[in-house]
Every structure is written in structure tokens, then in C-alpha cells.
Symmetry: C2
Subunit: 343 residues, 2 copies
């Protein structure tokens, strides 16, 4: 199989061109393209080039406004709100992030609410933007009803990503970002495409029975990670980043779209914390104290989350990003305005 | 085996008397006693009468100041700080909670930091205090190094409780409160006392090998729930409710105490959210919208967290709290100033 190697910048520019052609604003096209290219750069295939077509399908279906301009609403409280105006989430986040970090530094803790956005990406790009601004951050959002609550049998909760970051001055941040389902939906879709069976414990079929068939899983319900504990966290995400922020829960997002083949429309909640403000003058530098913890984790042979991503990133930035001939053909088809697959 | 049935108020008063005799301030004695009695009332044996002796041991060891008076520091920002002055956590929480709820209503989101406290209880009593004030709340704290990070073999993280609550006007709140280990340490101690083997997957022995022997587990390391995801959340608790708030991590708490038989000394972080402030004028009443979610969970036969507790509570408030003859003998021994077991 022939392969093509591109620089991160070239891949980003190529994807940006596709989104400009699809009617995205220059800001949105650049933002969405950068996040998808970052997925490839970090070897997160389920959030890489594979996502382009899903975004384009969502534009064609009229479920996202490609040229939407986000607006920021700020009363000076601990809650900053960005209305994505039915556009993609990433330009809305970029508008709100600096205000969020500034407010966290002023008040200690602050929240960014993004409303009416189409969310297509992982949360770690947003978390990393905030840790680079020197604040710790916790982000969460619904997706669409695909996961049964613990003890249940029907899709109700989303795969609801939950992500956290802590700045590590001079190094890669501490970042985790995971689905509150056992697996991310994108992973099951990749199993489905490749014809592989799922590991046990990931899903139930439409009858509520355990299954390892990825197609049956997509027709049935995925399961939460960590049984009732993960189910509880996922429910918390529906409450805080759905009902509380006045935006769609995962069940409502699925009703709105009518399909799981489009990028979901809902809101997002991001909390930011200023470690300096929280620690005050107590017990020394919180960042230095955190390093003691990280060293103790690594010192017993355990891995910090995201290390695989950071390693892939360094390699990609040095050696380029390698795409398969199928991935290049997909990009070429979309770039030349070719048909977008319906599902 | 003979049993004794007491009212909640009688049990609370009986435990309060023990703590007053041990030198706790009237405020602290009432607060600690109420929380322990609430554990029995809610059929949480691992946080009930069983905890009294651990609290007294911690007093006798000089690791908690029984008559400490907490002080509140408030600059009007999003972070309210209570210095527990090396006393128990619960009177410090009671001092800070109304200010936290008021600040959340004003700013949308606010945080209560409790520093220098001895923590002996579950987090749900605090969560329920806040939901009764009409705010949603998220609480977390370290404990002491007892859990190996995912992929590791040595105790480093605490069992780090993580709890959340959402007010349900007119009914019991939505509340979850769980250890970020597979099991709470108190559960393993109860297995140890009763001579039962642990379920598989709860712990490793001192050599890092899986074990079902509760004594070997207490000598070795417990495991995080949900593998690397639970391990990541537990690490987040160490960062936010340890390093960030200028208080002890679980490893530092164990160093400070030198034993796991005393109640741990560290800090605590509680976030509060005003659903009305977050929702603004969008999409209707957030509480009503949350009820739709709860009904959908219960409607497919899944259980909301804490339902078992609320059912036990209603029964105990109607029929009284039943203690075994051993539990009554323990209470009598401690009430008459009898010896406190060393471990």
C-alpha cells in the first residue's frame, strides 16, 4: 500500500481548503482543519482525516451553519457564554478561551459555556489551549444517545467526553480526555469499517443483550466505563453540560439530528482554575508539587495519560504525517468537490 | 444476636456525648456525630458507628485538634477558603457552605477550599447540604496513599472520593459519591474484620500481584475503578484538591500520619454551580429538564445512585435505626470513657 507523508502545516492547509470550499468562514475553516490535522499528528485516527466527511455531511444536511459567527456574552461574572450560532464548536471555543483564562486568574475559578454548537472533535485540543495559558481545565459535553445507563438496556446517555488538563511549565501538560462509555463511538465505527469484532463488555444489541458485533452495537447501546461509577459521571455531564447550560442533552441531540451519522449539535462546559489563586501562599508552588506526583507515577512504571499522543506528535513534527493511499484518495475526492457519502 | 433500635436523634445525641467527652467543641461534636449517625441511618455501615473509634484514635494520637475553631477567609472572589485549623472537616464545611452557595448564585460558579482538616466521612452529607441550598455541587478530596495508579504496583493515590449532587425540588436530590478505587478502604477493612475474601480485581499485594486477601490488600495497594480512566480521575483529585489548594496529597497525608489507622489529614475542594445562572433564559427550567433525564433512566429499569440510601433513610426515620449488640457494646465502652483500640 503506497503512503504519502505531509507536514502538519501542509495537511492543515489541505483540509482548510476543503472546508473553505464547503462554505465555512476563514476562521472556522482554519480552526476545524487544525483540530483534524492535530488528530492525525497525534495518531488519534478516530479524530483525524476520518472526521472530515462527517463534518461535510453535517453541513450538507443543513444541521450546521458553515459561515456562523460566534458571539461572546460576558457580564463579568464567573460564567462566560459563547453562542456558536449553530456553527462548529472550535471557533466558539477560540473566542471564549482567552476570556475564560483571564477570568479564572481573576476569580480563581470560571466557566465557559458554549451554546448551539456542532461538536466534531476530541476535547484535548481545547484543554491544551487552556493549559498553555497557565490554567488547569476540566471540559465536558454530551454527544447523542448511544450509551445505556448502568443497569439499563437502551441508548440514553452520550459517550460524553470528559477531559482535564494541568499545566506543566516547560513540558507537555498533564492531559486526559476520555469517553465515559467503555469505548468512543468513533472506535466502534472503525471496528465496523474494518469488519473486526468488538472486545466483550463494550455494548449491548437492540434487545439489550451483550454483543461483540460492531454493527449490532451501533444499533443497540454502548456501555459506560466503570459500571455505575462511569454511568454516574456520564449522567453528571448530561446535567451540567446539557440541562444546566440550557442546551441539548444527548437524547435531545439525537432527536434534533435524527441520525448518528452527523456531528452532534449541543453545548459544552469548560471550567478553568488558577492554581496560583487556589494555593494562595500555602505550601509552596502548586506546579512544583504536582511534578512530585507525576514523578512518583512514572517512577513505578505507570504511564501518564496522553504520553502516546505526545510521542506521536514529536515524531510527526520531525518526520511528517503519513497517510494511506485510501486516506489521500478521500482527501483528493473531497478537495475536488466530489460527492460526500451519505453515511 | 440481640439488637437495639434507636431514633436518629437519640443515636446522634449518644455519639455527640462521646465526642464532647473527647474534647471536641460543641459545634464539632454535633457536626461529627450527625454525620456518623447519618451513615447508620442511610445503611452505610462503612461510614457509621464503625467510624467513631477511628476519630477518637486520631484525637488520642494528637493528629487532630478536637477543640479547633475553623476560620473563613473570603475576598469576594470565586474561591472561599476555610482553615479547619487542624480540626475535623465537618464544622469547617458548615461554616463555608452558606457562603459557597451564595457566591455560586452571584457568580454562577464558586469553590470552597477547606484546608488543614481531618476528614473521616463520606462526601454525600456535604453534597446534600448544598443541594438543599439549591445549587449543584461537585466535591473531591485526597485520602492517603493506598491505590496504585493504572499500570503501577505501589500505593500512591488515595481512594479519593468524588461526589456530585443536583437539586430535585420536592424530592431527594440526585447524588453520587464514590471512591475512585474499585472499593472504599472502609469496605476492605470490613472484609478484613469479617474474615471474607475480596472479589477479584480490587487489589494487589505488597509485591504488586493480584490478591483477594483483604489483609494482603491493605498491606499492598488497592486498584482504581475503571482502569486508566478512574486512575486519571483520581490523579485529577490529587492535583485539584491537593497540590492546587495548597494542601497534602495522599502520599503526603500518609507521610504525615505514618499509619492508615487514623483519619487522614488533608484538604478538600467543593465546587458549586447555580443552574439558574448557567441556564440564563435558554431552553426553560434546568430542573424540569433534568427530571426528564431522571425519568428516562428510571423508565428503563436502571437505578439512580443513592436510591438505596434514601430508601434506608425513610425506613430508619419511620422505624428507627437498629444496631447489633456488638455495636451497642462499642458505643457503651466509648461513652464510658473506655479504652480506644490502637488499631
Amino acid at each position: 500500500m503506497s503512503q504519502t507523508t505531509l507536514t502538519f502545516d501542509t495537511l492543515t492547509a489541505t483540509i482548510r481548503e476543503i472546508f473553505l470550499k464547503a462554505g465555512l468562514s476563514p476562521l472556522a475553516a482554519a480552526s476545524v482543519a487544525t483540530i483534524i490535522a492535530a488528530g492525525e499528528r497525534d495518531a488519534c485516527k478516530s479524530h483525524g482525516v476520518y472526521r472530515i466527511e462527517g463534518c461535510l455531511r453535517t453541513v450538507k444536511a443543513g444541521k450546521v451553519v458553515p459561515g456562523a459567527l460566534p458571539t461572546l456574552e460576558d457580564e463579568g461574572s464567573g460564567v462566560i457564554r459563547v453562542d456558536a450560532a449553530n456553527g462548529f464548536s472550535s471557533p466558539a471555543f477560540e473566542l471564549g478561551a482567552p476570556v475564560l483564562a483571564e477570568r479564572a486568574r481573576k476569580l480563581g475559578v470560571a466557566a465557559l459555556v458554549i451554546n448551539r454548537c456542532t461538536h466534531f472533535s476530541a476535547l484535548w485540543p481545547e484543554i491544551e489551549t487552556l493549559t498553555a495559558m497557565g490554567v488547569a481545565a476540566l471540559a465536558m459535553c454530551p454527544s447523542y444517545a448511544a450509551v445505556a445507563p448502568a443497569g439499563g438496556t437502551k441508548p440514553l446517555l452520550g459517550t460524553n467526553p470528559f477531559a482535564f488538563g494541568w499545566p506543566r511549565p516547560g513540558g507537555d501538560p498533564y492531559v486526559f480526555d476520555f469517553a465515559t462509555s467503555v469505548a468512543a463511538r468513533g472506535e466502534i465505527e472503525l471496528y465496523c469499517q474494518s469488519g473486526q469484532q468488538l472486545p466483550e463488555g463494550w455494548a449491548v444489541d437492540a434487545g439489550g443483550q451483550p454483543t461483540t458485533d460492531p454493527a449490532a452495537a451501533l444499533d443497540g447501546a454502548m456501555l459506560p466505563f466503570g459500571d455505575h461509577k462511569g454511568s454516574a459521571i456520564s449522567t453528571m455531564v448530561e446535567l451540567l453540560a446539557g440541562a444546566m447550560i440550557g442546551d441539548l442533552t444527548s437524547a435531545e441531540a439525537l432527536d434534533y439530528l435524527g441520525t448518528t451519522t452527523l456531528a452532534p449539535h449541543h453545548g459544552e462546559l469548560i471550567l478553568a482554575f488558577s492554581p496560583e489563586r487556589f494555593s494562595g501562599s500555602r505550601r509552596g508552588d502548586p506546579f512544583a508539587r504536582a511534578e512530585v506526583l507525576f514523578e512518583a507515577i512514572a517512577g513505578q512504571g505507570a504511564r501518564l495519560p496522553s504520553q502516546r499522543r505526545f510521542t506521536a506528535r514529536r515524531k510527526a513534527m520531525a518526520d511528517g504525517i503519513t497517510l494511506t493511499s485510501e486516506e489521500m484518495a478521500l482527501i483528493e475526492r473531497l478537495r475536488s468537490g466530489g460527492l460526500v457519502a451519505v453515511s
